[in-house]
């Protein structure tokens, strides 16, 4: 078990949300630039260079860190966009760059030795060999773990590696091999790993019909919702499809991860930092979720029981349902 307190890493899609996360008790916030270099490239979201510098000043003044996600994969011929983003992040005084692409990792390792490198979940590194490779070649200090590992697997991994681990504890789930998902590339012609969004919003539509609502991505129907039924994000991996004569959520249910009850277990497994997903979410979500997790983490750190954050955060969850995800892996 680690003796240092676990770090609570929180999302910030806008400067206002960064301030909200810091004020709610975030040890660190993660954010990205307003372009395709980060994996939450939604309209109206993210930071300009000046906004990042101002955000870093605000966070540091309040004792919080800023981690900058430059975590999509660089395109052939356009690598400079990613390199310049890394330069700007380093110039802003940010505490770490979160990256997955070899070109970005290499650029930061060679040119910005003062800034920490965190390996993005987009790299899907889940073995000691893979993580060891990134540590040996680029000097990564932390790996963000894919959301497919059980607690036991994380504990075993931590015993075999020399870098910190960061685990998701709340928010949207990705059950694919992150960074290598081609579902929406197939449906929309745009890769989430290059453009930064799983469902390009210009290709999402909701249509009202007599029996409810139909959600579509491009020409694909994702799901139909009856009146009053909770809805989820319009991503193909959470869609309902017919296969083998049965209609079901083939890939993943529209539920949110909530590992609030497993904080002590994650600490015992050697996890350094707990990550809350949701850079696309607003200040209301960030404030509420960060405050609840701050309370829970603090309780665990002094040897108490985690507070009942499942109940506190039910309304913030996709589809109004929650799961402990792979951490429990009951299907095995």
């Amino acid at each position: 078990m680690t003796t240092t307190p676990m770090e609570l890493v929180c999302p910030a899609g806008t400067p206002a949300t960064l301030r909200a996360a810091v004020q709610a008790g975030a040890d660190a916030v993660y954010c990205g630039f307003r372009d395709e270099t980060n994996a939450r490239n939604f309209p109206g979201l993210n930071f300009s260079r000046d906004e990042l510098a101002e955000g870093v000043r605000f966070a540091h003044d309040h004792g919080s860190k800023v981690l900058v996600a430059i975590n999509t994969f660089a395109r052939v011929g356009d690598v400079d966009i990613w390199k310049k983003a890394a330069d700007a992040a380093a110039e802003s005084g940010a505490d770490a760059i979160i990256a997955a692409d070899f070109a970005v990792l290499d650029h930061v390792a060679k040119n910005h030795k003062q800034i920490r490198l965190h390996l993005s979940v987009q790299a899907a590194a889940a073995t000691p060999e893979a993580i060891g490779f990134y540590a040996a070649h680029f000097g990564i200090r932390r790996v963000v773990l894919p959301r497919v590992l059980s607690l036991q697997e994380i504990a075993a991994l931590n015993r075999a590696i020399d870098v910190e681990t960061e685990a998701f504890v709340f928010g949207g789930l990705c059950v694919m091999i992150e960074g290598r998902c081609y579902l929406s590339s197939y449906a929309t012609g745009k890769s989430p790993n290059l453009n930064g969004v799983c469902s390009p919003p210009e290709m999402v539509s909701y249509e009202e019909g007599p029996s409810g609502t139909t959600a579509r991505l491009s020409d694909f129907t994702i799901d139909r919702y009856g009146r009053g039924q909770p809805v989820g994000y319009p991503t193909l991996c959470k869609g309902k499809f017919k296969a083998g004569g049965k209609t079901s959520h083939l890939f993943e249910d529209p539920v949110s991860l909530n590992a609030g009850g497993m904080i002590a277990g994650l600490k015992a497994a050697g996890v350094t930092a707990l990550k809350i997903e949701g850079r696309q979410r607003g200040k209301g979500y960030v404030s509420e979720v960060v405050r609840a997790f701050r309370k829970a983490v603090d309780a665990v750190e002094v040897g108490g029981d985690a507070v009942d954050i499942d109940r506190l955060l039910a309304s913030q969850s996709e589809g109004a349902r929650q799961t402990a995800g792979a951490y429990e892996k009951k299907w095995r």
Partner: protein
């Protein structure tokens, strides 16, 4: 998508007051207010990008009228329209007035209201997202919309926010079966 689960609706007597307000030049006043905001905080509208020229139909389901808003900086416009008047909009956002105001002042989370179907959206999803994210970052106070500063702004903010808080409490009492709050 129609709103299904209820964020508390306005109390009946408040709803009955609003049709008289609709008769006032509400559209031109809101247009002036938005253009004045654009001149004071031009950066705010940059987040909208191309969506700034889109027409947003805002339909408070507990009022008898709706709004068509084009948040295009100094060329912004707001029109008060009938319930069918939002049909030609690029985007329509529907929900109880208090929920829509909660989105505007950042006290409520748009995704949570959407998941639980308190609000509904139709039309260009990218424009909705851009508007939502712009409003989130703007941290608007009532005085910002009225172009007020200093002590007067503080008084107006306190007054309007207290009134909203009272309206929410009244609405909660009006919906004792508990409408699912997002």
């Amino acid at each position: 998508m129609q709103p299904q689960n209820a964020e508390p609706m306005l109390p009946g007597f408040v709803r009955h007051l609003f049709p008289t307000v609709a008769g006032l030049p509400l559209g031109p006043l809101l247009t002036l207010s938005l253009r004045s905001l654009a001149s004071r905080r031009p950066g705010l509208f940059e987040r909208l990008g191309e969506s700034g020229s889109a027409c947003f139909g805002i339909d408070p389901v507990d009022l008898a009228f709706a709004f068509c808003v084009v948040p295009d900086g100094q060329r912004s416009s707001v029109r008060v329209v009938g319930k069918d008047g939002t049909a030609g909009s690029d985007v329509v956002i529907r929900g109880p007035l208090l929920a829509l105001l909660g989105l505007l002042d950042g006290t409520l989370d748009g995704d949570a209201l959407f998941f639980s179907r308190v609000i509904s959206i139709s039309g260009r999803t990218e424009a909705v997202l851009a508007l939502r994210n712009t409003i989130e970052d703007a941290e608007l106070r009532p005085a910002d919309l009225l172009g007020l500063r200093g002590i007067l702004a503080g008084c107006v903010d306190r007054g309007v926010l207290s009134a909203l808080s009272i309206a929410r409490r009244l609405a909660d009492n009006n919906n004792p079966s508990g409408a699912q709050k997002a």
